[in-house]
Structures are given as structure tokens and as C-alpha cells.
């Protein structure tokens, strides 16, 4: 247990969490306060540690696939995509084009679902109660598509090493298209509620500024990095799963504050819809499963494969010793690395902004603690 020390008489140390509604899970933050001002923080994490990496080293490659869904459980499809791509790279194979297109559709829908949950809870933290009902209503439709596709809503295990297990269901394309048409006006609706709202702007603008240099120094990726003005997205920088075929923009911010991170994520939902529309219009026909041996035994070697998950760069570093189980399974979680920048962001700010900043980092404790 970290020791709480009183550095001088005016400093007050208070504890926030691990059971606190706006830490989005079991995160404990020790705040050192001087009146309303935050002098420093310390994060205590690990409450949700399940030893995912150890489990990965004691399961076969296929057996481990469902476990990765339990890390970032609001974006389980992204986790699965990264894992499958990493093992495929280790085997030096590729999923067939049809599987890749379906993967892109489901992953982008999952990005929308993840951002919607972020928006709803972030707004709730700040005091806007209404958006969370709208956001969960729209997210529900994405989850219904997942449920129709693979039977699960949250921890989907949608992909398999080498492709997909399930063919798309009848009416999949129509349902996805219908969702896209229906969803974009909803984003406008949220923006109408929030973007020019004076209270919203007052609570977000200039709060929790993280510059581009600081982002790189702390290894922060995803929307937080883009809000600082760095136009970097792994889907463009190092395309995987056929992302180079789709047209989309990388939204960026200017000031790197909480408001910019909000606008970046809002635009990302629109861009994700744009990608889904393109992908669903031209799903190639063909097989959905590549040539994968029944027993996955990659040759001796190591790879690091990363994807652009909704929270940032999600990487898998896998070492194979030519057995059926990975010798080393390392997950590079975006939430864990991004959370490290929390102290830099809240230092010198007001205690009321701490919840806004935790919300804007969009962390999932399942992924922080693994």
C-alpha cells in the first residue's frame, strides 16, 4: 500500500476509489490537494489483475482467443482482431479478403460502440445526464448486430485465427447499412446537445491539456494523441486487414484539451460509419477461412503486431518456441500506458476536473490490469 505523506501543512491527501462511480471500474487515485488545486496524484491499479499474459502462456493459441475479449471488454472485437493478426503474422498467413472485409465492418462497429459508451459516461461524469440514455440506445443496435452475427453481445470472440468461423447471416448487409443511415443523425443529435453547450464547453475547454511532445514522451496514443494535433492512426500509417482500400480521414485537434478529445472522438464515429459503409458495399465473395493447420504450431520466432484499437495502439508481442502454446504472450495495452499520463494532466488543475480527465482518457480497467 503506498504511503500517504503530508508534505506540508496545507496539503490534504484524499482517496478516490476504487469504488467510485466516475473512475469507471476499480481505479484508485490518491489525490494530493492544496485547497481546490491538485498538487499530484498517484494511481493504484491491479484490482482487476487476472494474469492474462500468464494464462496466454498456458493455453494453446486457439484456446487463448476468447480470453483477449476480457481485457478491453467494451471493444472486444478489436482485441480479437489484434490477437488474430498477430498469430497470423507468426504463421505467415493471411485471412481471405472476404474475412478481412467482415472483420473491418465488425471492428469499426465496435469502435462506434466503444466511443458511445465513452460519450455517455463521460457526459454523465460531467453532469449531463441525458446523453447516456441516447448513447446506450444506439449502442444497443450495434450489440444486436454482434448478437445476430456470433451470438454474443459483449465478449464476442468474433474472429478466428486465419479468418472467421461464421458466415454472415441473411440480411447482414442490409441491417448494417440501415444502422449507418440511422446512426449519423444521432451523432448530430449528440452534438446539438453538447458541442456548443456553454456548460459543456466551460467544463472541457483548456482542461487536462496534453501536448504532442508530452503524448510522445508518455507513449500516449489513440484519440488523445490525435487531439494534440498529431495526425497518426495505425490504420493509415501501417494498414492491416485491408484498411488501405477504404477512404477515411483522421480527425485531429489543436489544443490537446478535453474538448478536442471530445470532438476527435465524435468525428471518429462518423469516420467509422464511413468505413463501414464502404466495406459493406463491397464485401468480396469467397472463403471466410484461410488455410490454417488444425494444430497451430508457429515456427520459432517472435512478432509484434499492433492495431488501432478505440483507445489507442493495442499490440501483441508473441514469442513462439514451435509448440502449441505461446512461449511469451505480451499485451501492450493502450489504457495502461495512457493512464500513466493522468498525473501530468491533472497536476495544477482543479479537483473537480479530475473526473473529467479520467473520463476523457477513456480507460477500461480490465485492460489496465489485465
Amino acid at each position: 500500500m503506498p504511503e500517504a505523506t503530508f508534505l506540508d501543512a496545507t496539503e490534504l491527501v484524499i482517496n478516490m476509489g476504487p469504488q467510485h462511480p466516475s473512475t469507471h471500474g476499480v481505479l484508485r487515485v490518491i489525490l494530493k490537494l492544496d485547497g481546490e488545486k491538485v498538487n499530484g496524484t498517484e494511481c493504484v491499479i491491479g484490482y482487476l489483475h487476472r494474469g492474462v499474459e500468464k494464462i496466454g502462456e498456458n493455453r494453446t493459441y486457439q484456446q487463448f482467443a476468447p480470453y483477449v475479449d476480457r481485457m478491453d471488454y467494451v471493444a472486444s472485437v478489436s482485441n480479437g482482431l489484434g490477437y488474430c493478426l498477430a498469430v497470423e503474422k507468426l504463421l505467415n498467413i493471411e485471412a481471405p479478403p472476404r474475412a478481412q472485409a467482415v472483420r473491418v465492418i465488425l471492428t469499426e462497429l465496435n469502435r462506434i460502440a466503444s466511443h458511445l459508451l465513452w460519450l455517455g459516461t463521460h457526459a454523465l461524469d460531467i453532469g449531463a445526464i441525458t446523453p447516456v440514455f441516447y448513447c446506450l440506445r444506439e449502442r444497443e443496435e450495434v450489440l444486436k448486430i454482434f448478437e445476430n452475427y456470433c451470438g454474443a453481445r459483449l465478449t464476442t470472440h468474433a474472429f478466428r485465427i486465419g479468418g472467421l468461423q461464421y458466415e454472415t447471416y441473411d440480411g447482414f448487409e442490409e441491417e448494417v447499412k440501415k444502422f449507418c443511415d440511422w446512426f449519423i443523425p444521432k451523432v448530430d443529435e449528440y452534438e446539438e446537445l453538447l458541442t456548443n453547450n456553454r456548460i459543456w464547453m466551460g467544463r472541457l475547454k483548456g482542461v487536462g491539456v496534453l501536448s504532442a511532445e508530452e503524448c510522445k514522451e508518455y507513449g500516449v496514443t489513440g484519440p488523445v494523441l490525435r487531439a494534440a494535433g498529431v495526425q497518426w492512426d495505425l490504420r493509415k500509417a501501417q494498414p492491416y486487414s485491408g484498411y488501405e482500400q477504404y477512404e477515411f480521414d483522421i480527425p485531429t485537434g489543436e489544443n490537446g484539451d478535453t474538448y478536442d478529445r471530445y470532438t476527435v472522438r465524435m468525428e471518429e464515429m462518423r469516420q467509422a460509419t464511413r468505413i463501414v459503409r464502404q466495406a459493406v458495399d463491397r464485401i468480396p465473395s469467397g472463403p471466410i477461412m484461410g488455410k490454417v493447420p488444425k494444430v497451430v504450431k508457429p515456427p520459432v520466432g517472435e512478432v509484434y503486431v499492433a492495431i488501432e484499437a478505440p483507445k489507442g495502439e493495442l499490440g501483441y508481442f508473441i514469442v513462439s518456441d514451435n509448440s502449441t502454446q505461446p512461449y511469451r504472450m505480451r499485451v501492450r495495452p493502450p489504457s495502461f500506458v495512457n493512464l500513466q499520463a493522468l498525473d501530468c494532466m491533472v497536476r495544477g488543475g482543479l479537483v473537480a476536473d479530475v473526473v473529467a480527465i479520467i473520463g476523457t482518457l477513456d480507460i477500461v480497467l480490465g485492460e489496465v490490469d489485465r
Partner: protein
Amino acid sequence: MADEQKPEGSPAPPPSGGEAASPMGKPATPAPKPAVPKPAAAAHAAPPKPPAVMLTTPWESDITELLKEHFGGDITEFSTYLGQSFLVAKPDAVIAILDTLKLDLDFDYLVDVTAVDYPKRADRFDLVYILYSFARNERIRVKTVIPDGYTPATAVTVHLTANWLEREVFDMFGIQFAGHPDMRRILLPEEWQGYPLRKDYGILQQDDGWVRENLGIESGQ
């Protein structure tokens, strides 16, 4: 939106046609396939056994040239595997190499620090630093081999993000980093005994004393 799931899955579309229209998506790197030796024609059913070493190819670029010039014998290997490049350096030189890579070659983003445990080896751990350069859009790995009990210098002096990443390596492998500002466990409780990601730590193993004392139960299993 209507729930219009049909009970029978849609039939697989015919495999012919349409495929050529969409080229396979693939990152730019031309991954060289490790040459698994093919058996002579009509050999028996047994597939060839992949060799027990990583089939790497040498890595040469402006990066390797500059590093060779700066560090000479301190870097023992430049290799590429499946299009991913890495170098192996002597443990003492790693921080200087990270610094040079950051300042002279734009590798300004430390993606990850992790370790791999080989208990049977004399030098037990591989320490792996994954780096990325925004300017070059390139990813490399810096690896070093250290024995148990060796305290590598911290990378926090070069990249701030190494702080938590190294704490996690310490937590899971028991590798202490010299000069680290806050060398404590990060995911496990402070008093926990043992380092779970070492290979001699069993999958069901736990710190029974800690569990009994703090949770009041005999076993968390």
C-alpha cells in the same frame, strides 16, 4: 431497427469470381518467408520439422550503419524476422542506444518494455524494448540478454513512459531497474512474494500467506 435474424445461416457464396477485385490488404514490408526446407519429392507423409532457431535475415539500413559507427562491438546482432527488425545489444549499452535512436534517428516513441524468461539459460532474461518513429513510420526492437540479479539501467531518463512499463517488468519478472524513480510493484500488492511471469511460477501458484492474511480465505483458486 428490426431484429430480423433468420434461423438458417446464409449459404456461403460461390467461391469463384469477385475475388480479384479486392487485393489482399498487407502492410508495406515484404515479409520474407522463413525457408522451411521442403522434403525431396514424394517424401513420406511426415512434414519437415521447422528448425529450433529463429530464421532471421541480416538487417541493413542507414539505422544500422549509424549505430555500428557509434557503438561498434556493443551491438552483437542486426536481424529481421518476418519483416520486423531488431538488434541485440550488450546490457550496458542499451540506454545509450535508446538515446541515440531517439535523438539522431527519430525513434521518439517507446511502445513497450517487456521481458522473456528462459530459466535454463545462463543469462536468464531477454529484455525487449519496442520503439517506433513517427517520422519514419518504422518500428524496431532493441533486445538485450541479462542474467538473474542483474540491474539494468532505467530508460525513464530517455522516455518517461518507461516508468510504468519497467515497474510492470519488475512486478512480473523481478528485474530491478537501476535509477528508476519509483521501483515498486504496480499490478500485484506490494507485499506479494514471487514473480508470476517467470517460467518456474506455476499457473495455479499464488502467495498463500498473503491470500490468507489479507482475504481471510485458504485459497483464491
